[in-house]
């Protein structure tokens, strides 16, 4: 006699098939049409594209460099001298969530939503930046989310694209530190502390060079 838990030949597939039909029938009836959520996502993607344009082509950066040569910076358009290439500790000390190495390295720890416009404005206001055009600054996490950085204003600051030590350079450091943590070469807390305390110093230390290439 078969035990209750023994599946007969083909029974598993049949039961799974029946279950999938019931599961979908039941749950699909509760799912509203997709049109409105789709439109909302489209709108939010447009906003996110404008807010944080890491994908801007290199040509745009080259153009910024040319403008610098012609002294546009001197007229105060970019206020480069005032660019906060390092975060102010009183405003942005860095804040981390309590995550495990496994979470950091599974690739799901960076599941953060785009920084809301209201928070972006608050960060600019704190740093006294009036020119908030989004191609100038990235509102960046000091401790990157993939290293457990928190989605908090204490972990955000306006990082310029135009400086030598810019947002793209910091991205390189973030990837390097993430790789080292996941390879077990440094611990997660050390990586968080070093990037929060002095990200430029951390770059020099882990890339063994004094300036970005």
């Amino acid at each position: 006699m078969l035990s209750d838990d023994h599946l007969k030949d083909g029974e598993a597939e049949r039961v799974l098939g029946d279950f999938v039909r019931a599961y979908r029938e039941e749950l699909d009836s509760r799912i509203p049409p997709a049109a409105q959520p789709r439109a909302m996502l489209r709108e939010r993607l447009v906003e996110a594209s404008e807010e944080n344009p890491r994908w801007l082509p290199v040509a745009a950066l080259a153009m910024a460099a040319c403008l610098a040569v012609f002294g546009v910076y001197e007229r105060g358009l970019l206020r480069r001298s005032a660019d906060p290439i390092v975060p102010q500790r009183a405003l942005t000390p860095g804040e981390a969530r309590n995550i495990s190495i496994a979470e950091a390295c599974q690739g799901s720890a960076d599941a953060t939503i785009a920084v809301p416009t209201s928070v972006r404005r608050a960060v600019f206001r704190e740093y006294g930046i009036r020119d908030t055009r989004t191609d100038r600054y990235e509102i960046d996490y000091l401790i990157t989310p993939e290293l457990g950085g928190a989605n908090s204003i204490r972990n955000l600051w306006p990082e310029p694209y135009s400086a030598v030590w810019n947002a793209h350079v910091k991205d390189e450091l973030e990837s390097r530190l993430h790789g080292l943590v996941c390879a077990g070469q440094i611990d997660l807390t050390t990586a968080q502390k070093e990037i929060a305390r002095d990200w430029i110093g951390a770059y020099k230390k882990y890339f063994h060079r004094d300036r970005p290439e």
Binding site: F19, A34, A114
Partner: protein, 168 residues
């Protein structure tokens, strides 16, 4: 919209929205909250693609992120429920609707609801067509644990099914 990442994200949204919502509903999350989580998932995916992060297995990636966000939302709801008292999800339904709702509850779904959390998630992800390896990645458990969980759940479903035939 001209941003290619945004177009790709929208295409993946079309493909996965319903499956993700079904999966989120198994966490007993209200539909509106599930929709918001789905939005967060695809905004995170946009950020992921834009940063040039790995593109392998994006189908599994969206379920993994949804799972993590759902756990957070679920934990928060539990904390709030502890303060505000038990949730009365069916409050809005009148008795007739409640009866109709109860009638729709298939015996197999009743078995699913009674499963332990991990078994329920494994079964729901399998129902969404994820292979064992992706289920293991989403839930952060071993391949063997997924196989054992599904075997256990299918045995329970089969047992319930056989009993239903005997009763009829």
């Amino acid at each position: 919209m001209t941003n290619p990442h945004a177009e790709e994200v929208l295409a993946l949204f079309e493909r996965h929205r319903a499956g993700l919502l079904r999966y989120l509903l198994t966490f007993r999350i209200p539909v509106a909250d599930g929709e918001e989580i789905v939005q967060e998932v695809f905004l995170a995916l946009f950020d992921h693609l834009r940063k040039g992060r790995p593109r392998e297995n994006l189908d599994g990636w969206v379920f993994r992120v949804a799972h993590n966000l759902a756990l957070k939302r679920y934990a928060r709801a539990q904390r709030e429920a502890a303060v505000e008292g038990p949730e009365r999800a069916d409050e809005a339904l009148d008795p007739e609707e409640q009866f109709a709702e109860a009638q729709r509850q298939d015996r197999l779904l009743a078995v699913m609801r009674a499963l332990p959390e991990t078994d329920r998630w494994c079964l729901a992800l399998r129902a969404e067509g994820l292979p064992y390896r992706q289920i293991a990645e989403v839930l952060g458990i071993s391949l063997g644990a997924v196989a054992n969980s599904l075997e256990r759940s299918l045995a329970r479903l089969a047992r319930a099914d056989r009993r239903a035939y005997v009763v009829r």
